[in-house]
């Protein structure tokens, strides 16, 4: 062979094998030539040689033609010599190590976690595994719902039961893809078989099909057993992500119990340390699952974190599945509005329509239809009037309202003065109050020196003030143009035009003096005297607004008469409602997370927006951020707002749990705080089907021709065998053509020349 290599001018050290290959891909032409054209041509030629008497010449000529056709066929086959270098490869063995959470489950009576059976087996069989490396390429993988490569050396540190889901079918699919074109001669699988994708004690047909044509055996080693498996678990919990305040939230819970005996078990729902609800579940031998329906009513807004628990009994295999945390974002389903009208009038009629048509408002209206001085000329039984339920509204149910509106309403004689203090407290504790003007509002309603005056953003001048019946266009406060109440349109020029196009108002309550920190959003600018018409202010935790006119309905009905629409009238009141009820978009410090809940290891993003009192962005403001876990770990950061008054902070929680973010800012001496909660969930599905799946592991071994074994302290892997066929691999090669050269072409020409010469000598043309 070396002679051949040298003959073609190649380096004998670079090649150790030679082979002849035919490069022709389409052989049909060769077959046509060899089987049809050549025999026909030779027969025709033989008949044309009758005039030649010498049989030797005839045979010589025929031989020349045969040789010519042979060379032609040779050329069409395109033969080439391939010189190559190849070497023998080791066959591969894949070792799969289940590192899902179920591997942390203890096996009784030894109380050994399943993963420790694997670790001990590896420790005990270290020599065997080392020797296996001499014959095979041994590749180690962690296996869960996918495979991730590791090495024997790394097993000590990295092999931890942390992954969320076992899916062996997917694991084997990935393995097959990884070894495509390679020689995988066997698999060793160390697992509890607790595959979430299959039902206990079953094997999927897809899995069996996958293993049926598996190249080598799959030896399965079962970690742990179901002997004495004792567990009480909250197996399933169905709850909503969103709930409504004061509206019941329904929970569907499934409790599972294995070897728990006969017990009455309390299932407890808590928020923090407060027990919200408790149910007794009667656990009985012979029954494994217990569905439980629960219902609770959230009492506060925001992201609320609840915990559902069953007691943890001695000897339970899994402790973590006795508790389930879940989060419900509690929002307002409806804004409850109490609307009191001093008398039926167009202003209250049109505002009632706004409130009644607001998709989020639950409206309770009262109109004072008659006063004590009115003569109804009828017995009470023929009237539809009902007694004004003062005590009910302003004592029992006051806190269930989100907004109280007094529209042209004089409290006497309908509301006792003591209830005005209740309203005062309600607002200071976070409620909302609005007084809409008219003759019976403000001083006209006798509110000077009352608890209501104390929550208004205006002070009432003590001298008797007229209700001024003059027409005027409302002027917006120039420094508060970005206030959310004044945004009838998104774009500022469109917004300015919208205000300009609003019809004029008629009538304003005089004698109102804005308080120090109140915002005069709009006023009647009468040259030398300004009358505040729209004033907003914060009172304790709550908000209050004054609309000192009873003619805002002009912006609706009269605007329609002018060819416009009542859209901006509706928008105006909706803005007021949003601001009064502390809609998040109207806050001066806004804090939010990019998601409601995160998975373990996922980045969290906190977004902060800081606005000045006039709702312009607060630029370059320091934001002090504190992230606190439920266990008390605390992280603090200081970041600054950008030109839009915005700042963001990205952070990766190290472990599952519930976190609170508190943000503090100081905007020109105004100290503000906001907080938001979020949860980092660790997938606990592994503990929902915690039992060892013997059937699955046995069938995998059986179908693939492998061996099934339960891991014990004494497990010896030396009996495990794998086929080890010789596998050669070509590293490089060089091909040299045998037909595409002058030798071949010259040979054909020589044959044709000899044919021509012999024919001439024989007297043929």
């Amino acid at each position: 062979m070396n002679i051949l290599i040298e003959w073609f001018g190649l380096d004998p050290d670079q090649f150790n094998e030679v082979a002849m290959n035919m490069a022709a891909k389409d052989l049909s032409l060769v077959w046509i030539l060899a089987l049809v054209v050549a025999p026909l041509a030779l027969w025709f030629f033989w008949t044309s040689l009758k005039r030649i008497q010498s049989p030797i010449r005839k045979i010589f000529l025929i031989a020349l033609r045969v040789l010519t056709f042979a060379v032609l066929v040779f050329m069409l086959l395109k033969p080439e010599l391939e010189f190559k270098k190849s070497h023998t490869l080791k066959n591969s063995i894949a070792v799969l190590l289940d590192d899902t959470k179920s591997m942390s489950i203890k096996t009784f009576p030894s109380e050994t976690p399943r993963i420790d059976f694997v670790r001990r087996t590896f420790e005990k069989n270290r020599n065997m595994l080392e020797s296996l490396k001499e014959k095979f390429q041994v590749d180690y993988y962690f296996a869960s719902s996918q495979i991730s490569p590791t090495s024997y050396a790394e097993l000590g540190n990295r092999y931890q039961p942390k992954k969320a889901i076992t899916d062996l079918e997917n694991t084997f699919s990935q393995l097959r893809k990884r070894y495509e074109g390679k020689s995988l001669q066997g698999v060793m699988l160390f697992s509890d078989g607790a595959d979430l994708a299959v039902e206990p004690e079953t094997v999927s047909p897809e899995m069996l099909a996958l293993l049926a044509d598996w190249e080598g055996p799959v030896h399965t080693f079962q970690a742990g057993s179901n002997e004495m498996f004792k567990d009480l678990a909250i197996e399933e919990l169905d709850s909503v992500d969103f709930g409504f305040i004061h509206q019941p939230v329904r929970l569907t819970v499934t409790i599972s119990a294995s070897n728990m005996g006969n017990k009455n078990i309390p299932l407890v729902l808590k928020e923090g340390n407060t027990i919200l609800l408790s149910r007794i579940v009667e656990v009985r031998e012979g029954q494994n699952q217990y569905p439980v329906e629960m219902e609770f009513t959230p009492g506060a807004l925001g992201k609320r974190i609840y915990t559902l628990t069953v007691p943890h009994f001695a000897g339970e295999s899994v402790a973590t599945n006795n508790r389930r945390d879940f989060q419900v974002k509690v929002i307002r389903d409806r804004i409850r509005v109490l609307h009191l009208n001093g008398r039926p009038a167009w202003d209250s009629r049109f505002l009632r329509e706004v409130l009644a048509n607001h998709p989020k408002v639950d409206l309770l209206s009262f109109f004072i239809l008659r006063t004590m001085g009115d003569d109804v000329a009828s017995p009470t039984s023929e009237l539809s009037l009902i007694p004004f339920p003062t005590n009910l509204l302003f004592s029992d149910y006051l806190n269930s309202f989100d907004l109280i509106v007094f529209q042209n309403f004089s409290y006497e004689p309908f509301i006792d003065k003591k209830y005005l203090h209740n309203i005062n407290n309600y607002v200071k504790q976070g409620g909302a109050f609005m007084m809409v003007g008219g003759e019976l509002s403000f001083q006209g309603g006798g509110y000077e020196r009352t608890a209501i005056e104390a929550i208004l953003p205006v002070q009432l001048e003590r001298t008797s003030q007229p209700f001024i019946g003059e027409s005027f266009h409302l002027q917006r406060g120039k420094s508060l143009l970005r206030h959310p109440i004044l945004q009838l349109e998104k774009e500022s020029s469109a917004n300015a035009k919208a205000w300009q196009d609003l019809p004029e108002l008629n009538g304003v309550n005089a004698g109102l003096k804005p308080r120090k920190n109140a915002h005069v959003l709009a006023e009647f600018d009468k040259g030398n005297k300004n009358y505040p018409v729209l004033v907003a202010g914060r009172v304790g935790e709550g908000r209050s607004i004054v609309v000192a006119t009873d003619s805002a309905w002009n912006w609706n009905f009269r605007r329609v008469g002018e060819g416009g629409s009542g859209r901006h009238y509706y928008k105006f009141w909706n803005n007021l409602i949003a601001w009064l009820t502390d809609d998040p978009a109207t806050r001066l410090l806004q804090l939010e997370t990019d998601k409601e809940r995160y998975e373990e290891g996922e980045d969290t993003l906190l977004r902060i927006r800081v606005l000045q009192e006039d709702y312009n962005p607060s630029i370059g403001t320091e934001v002090n951020l504190t992230i606190k876990s439920r266990e008390g770990e605390e992280i603090t950061e200081t970041i600054k707002t950008d030109d839009n008054g915005e700042a963001a902070h990205q952070w990766t929680p190290q472990r599952e749990g519930f976190y609170t973010v508190k943000v503090k800012v100081d905007v020109a001496g105004d100290k503000r705080e906001a907080d938001v909660g979020f949860s980092v969930f660790s997938e606990t599905a592994e503990f929902q089907k915690p039992k060892v799946n013997e059937t699955l592991l046995k069938r995998i071994a059986e179908v693939s021709g492998g061996r099934y074994e339960v891991l014990t302290e004494k497990t010896d892997l030396s009996a495990i065998k794998f086929p080890n066929p010789k596998v050669e691999v070509k590293t490089h090669s060089k091909s040299i053509s045998l037909w595409d050269n002058w030798w071949t072409y010259g040979l054909i020409l020589t044959f044709l020349f000899l044919d021509w010469f012999t024919r001439r000598k024989s007297g043929l043309s």
Partner: protein
């Protein structure tokens, strides 16, 4: 309370002296202009509305402006008055397309129209004109009888029958848009029962009934006005139990 209102009223008057735009000062009060039209007799009982408003002021907390007003549908001030009254006893000329368009918009976006046939006759020429007009106004929405559980029958008084100066029909008819009744048509000559002469005496006798019938007609007028100003609030859950109990008692008598 009345003294307080008087004080405020006087204060308002003082205010109107300081800021002299008297017509604007009426915005808080209820005015009911009467619709002017061509042909027929658009104002057979000139004092009817003023008299009704007087009753409203006496019986309820509504502030009224009793000054008689007449308005054309083409009047630019039409939208200052969300309640208008159309009465008559003769055939009248059809409204123009432009007037019908304005009236349609007026009613669709918050206005209220009370139509009162003062002829005291069944199938009168006024009735024919009214039905033609309504057919042109809302061709897709036919007039329908107003049911007894409508808020009109419980907005102030609890009423279980429709009366008038002469009972032509035991019902009123109406048109509803987006849940709100925007037009009420009565054929029993309400205006005749409401009207008073200059001396304060009733202008017309009640036909087929006595003062009770007149009182019931006044109550109906009060309720119609109350409905226009408060809509369906009497159907709010908080009001229902008491109202239903009273209705049950009145039926059981």
């Amino acid at each position: 309370m009345r003294n307080l209102l008087k004080t405020i009223f006087i204060a308002s008057l003082l205010g109107s002296v300081i800021f002299p735009t008297a017509s604007d000062a009426d915005y808080s009060s209820l005015s009911i202009p009467q619709v002017k039209y061509q042909g027929g007799q658009p104002n057979p009982h000139p004092t009817a509305i003023s008299s009704l408003l007087g009753q409203v002021a006496r019986r309820t907390s509504i502030e009224v402006n009793r000054e008689p007003l007449q308005i054309k549908l083409s009047d630019p001030n039409l939208y200052r008055y969300p309640f208008i009254y159309l009465a008559g006893n003769e055939k009248f000329e059809s409204f123009s397309e432009e007037e019908l368009h304005r009236l349609r918009n007026y009613l669709s976006f918050g206005g209220f129209l009370l139509i009162d046939d003062n002829s005291a006759k069944a199938n009168s020429k006024f009735d024919t004109s009214v039905r033609e007009m309504i057919n042109q106004l809302f061709p897709q929405i036919p007039l329908q009888k107003i049911s007894r559980d409508h808020s009109i029958f419980r907005s102030f008084y609890l009423i279980n029958r429709v009366t008038g100066r002469k009972q032509i029909n035991p019902y009123m008819e109406g048109i509803k848009i987006k849940g709100r009744t925007v037009l009420v048509y009565a054929t029993n000559d309400f205006g005749g029962a409401w009207a008073r002469d200059n001396l304060g005496q009733w202008s017309y006798d009640i036909i087929g009934g006595g003062s009770r019938q007149r009182q019931l007609t006044i109550r109906l007028g009060v309720n119609i006005i109350m409905y226009a100003l408060t809509l369906d609030y009497k159907k709010d859950m908080v009001h229902l139990p008491i109202i239903l109990e009273r209705l049950r008692r009145s039926h059981s008598r």
